[in-house]
């Protein structure tokens, strides 16, 4: 496959959001767009868009099936994307990378395969108040089938995870700790290394929901020492419909399939079927081949910019945003604990987030309003709804300024 839009190496230097914007056709097609909703889904660089189209034009065939060269090439590209994802997470081997539909499916896979096999009545699964619905509902569904207890670790007064309270909820029956790396509703970053250490000391397994963190932080699953890690391709500048589940090899080996079909079997008779080793065991049917290849390109793009440079950029822009918004009268940021990254969730006195988002949209500022699929957290904070601006690699201070000015315009309009 010949990449149509080469990924320009920019290793080492600081991020240049203006130059990066030129890599994203959406900004050319929508002049003046101030896109502050990357937390919901990120925009795609031309390298991804063109790369996927080029794959369909030049190299497309089903994977793992044909003996002909085109199918072999398609398989090679698909497996190369797996290797890219392995590198992106610093997993030990590519067999620990399972392609899934997104973060949601990754968590459901762990619940329905690992959870349904190893969780017993009387066991405990511990989550936190900062979770997205995707890391709450699968455990509730499974709890209702199996009868384990679903425990919830609370936030502290600043909006961060209360680590002492978390530790106090770890017990001898805790089998799994499922936590977000970063809360999508507030931007709070959780100390996942400490969480994993505490959990492992009690013999519990650890799943980390990296949907928000993967596009912002360098992620090293070996350093975190988690057992499972999931993220979504579409929030990481890749296509929709693809995501990654990392699973520690020994755990994946012990897990039964969760869906049956082609590609995941070794031998099928009507009496008995034997299954492939991971990751194929968990990828029944024709996978999202072009999605995986597009994701590989997106991860290469992110790596070329530099994960540390992206983190620095997100940190600097977050502080600028916190500072800029805090100086507006009548604007209150929602607490995100000790470490907030890339997400500014806020409320404006006397203006409902839905009205605010409509007005901001007229100023070409795209933000999200609502409970952000984290209703229990928003309820706990007593908020009902918030307005959320979330940052990406193409945002800079001018976007924050546009946001602040549009908020001020909304306040003027609502002031009577």
């Amino acid at each position: 496959m010949t990449p149509v839009t080469p990924v320009r190496p920019r290793q080492g230097g600081a991020l240049d959001p203006r130059a990066i914007r030129r890599d994203f056709p959406i900004f050319e097609r929508n002049p003046g767009l101030v896109f502050l909703d990357s937390g919901a889904s990120a925009q795609k660089p031309a390298a991804v868009i063109d790369g996927v189209a080029e794959y369909y034009r030049s190299d497309y065939a089903n994977v793992h099936r044909g003996v002909y060269r085109l199918s072999a090439r398609s398989t090679e590209l698909y497996e190369a994307a797996r290797e890219t994802a392995r590198r992106f997470l610093n997993a030990r081997e590519a067999a620990e990378i399972v392609f899934v539909r997104g973060g949601t499916e990754g968590i459901n896979l762990v619940a329905n395969s690992w959870g349904a096999t190893f969780l017993k009545p009387g066991d405990e699964v511990l989550i936190t108040e900062l979770e997205h619905h995707a890391n709450i509902v699968p455990w509730q569904l499974l709890r209702d089938r199996i009868g384990f207890a679903l425990k919830v670790a609370p936030i502290d007064a600043t909006g961060g995870l209360d680590l002492a309270a978390f530790e106090a909820r770890l017990g001898p029956r805790t089998r799994l700790v499922a936590v977000t790396h970063q809360a999508n509703a507030t931007g709070a970053v959780l100390p996942v290394e400490a969480i994993a250490r505490l959990a492992h000391a009690r013999g519990a397994k650890v799943l980390v929901d990296g949907c928000q963190a993967a596009p912002r932080l360098p992620v090293d699953v070996q350093a975190i020492d988690c057992d499972f890690y999931v993220f979504s391709g579409h929030k990481t500048y890749g296509p929709t419909g693809i995501g990654v589940l990392y699973g520690r090899k020994a755990l994946l080996d012990a897990m039964p399939p969760w869906q049956g079909g082609g590609d995941m079997i070794l031998d099928v008779t009507f009496e008995k079927t034997t299954f492939q080793d991971p990751p194929a065991r968990f990828e029944a049917g024709t996978p999202d081949i072009s999605g995986a290849i597009g994701l590989g390109i997106a991860l290469d793009y992110v790596e070329a910019l530099g994960r540390d440079a992206i983190l620095e950029h997100e940190e600097a822009l977050t502080s600028y945003g916190v500072d800029r918004l805090s100086r507006l009268a009548g604007v209150r940021l929602v607490g995100a604990g000790q470490r907030r990254l890339g997400i500014l969730s806020f409320q404006v006195d006397d203006i409902h987030p839905h009205d605010l988002a409509t007005i901001l949209d007229r100023h070409k500022v795209a933000v999200r309003a609502g409970h952000h699929c984290a209703q229990p957290l928003i309820d706990k904070l007593g908020l009902g709804a918030t307005t959320r601006a979330s940052l990406g690699i193409y945002n800079d201070e001018s976007d924050i300024d546009a946001l602040a000015e549009a908020v001020t315009a909304a306040q003027r309009m609502f002031k009577r």
């Binding site: 839905h354 007229r362 609502g370 209703q375």
Partner: protein, 154 residues
């Protein structure tokens, strides 16, 4: 389209100072309206005397559009018969979605006129549900009686 067509003074006024914003202790009908998209919830209380709406009120929180729509609805429905309310709902729905509705009878022309400021939402498809939330709750209340029900905008 200008934002001011959506946020007209009358909308902002009703949004910030909603009328009939109160709980009824013994309504004959009650229902909750819930917009899962934004988490907004309102409760509509209704007291019927025969076929006539003796009292209608609401409580809950939401955006300016949903609050103003609920407020205007309660003002307009008070004293109407159920048949008139039904006609008004159909007329209102057409106004905010840009659809067709049979022309309202002469007797309800004033009421339809008062709902006109909400017609601005038809240019904002994402906000139509905000405007119709109270009306859907009203309809659900009629169906469920005093036992209460929850309607969702989805």
């Amino acid at each position: 389209m200008d934002l001011r067509d959506l946020y007209q003074d009358i909308i902002l006024d009703h949004g910030q100072r909603p009328r009939n914003f109160r709980v009824q202790e013994h309504p004959s009908h009650v229902a909750q309206g819930h917009n899962p998209l934004c988490g907004d919830r309102i409760t509509v209380y209704l007291t019927l005397e025969g076929e006539r709406i003796a009292d209608v009120s609401f409580q809950g929180r939401g955006c300016a559009i949903s609050q103003a729509s609920a407020s205007l609805m309660t003002e307009i429905l008070k004293g109407k018969t159920l048949a008139e309310a039904e006609t008004l709902f159909r007329g209102f729905h057409a106004k905010v979605t840009g659809g067709d509705a049979p022309a309202a009878p002469e007797a309800l022309a004033d009421e339809m006129e008062r709902l006109e400021p909400l017609s601005g939402v038809k240019a904002y498809p994402a906000r139509v549900k905000c405007a119709t939330l109270a009306w859907h709750a009203f309809e659900a209340a009629l169906k469920s009686g005093s036992a209460g029900a929850t309607v969702k905008t989805e």
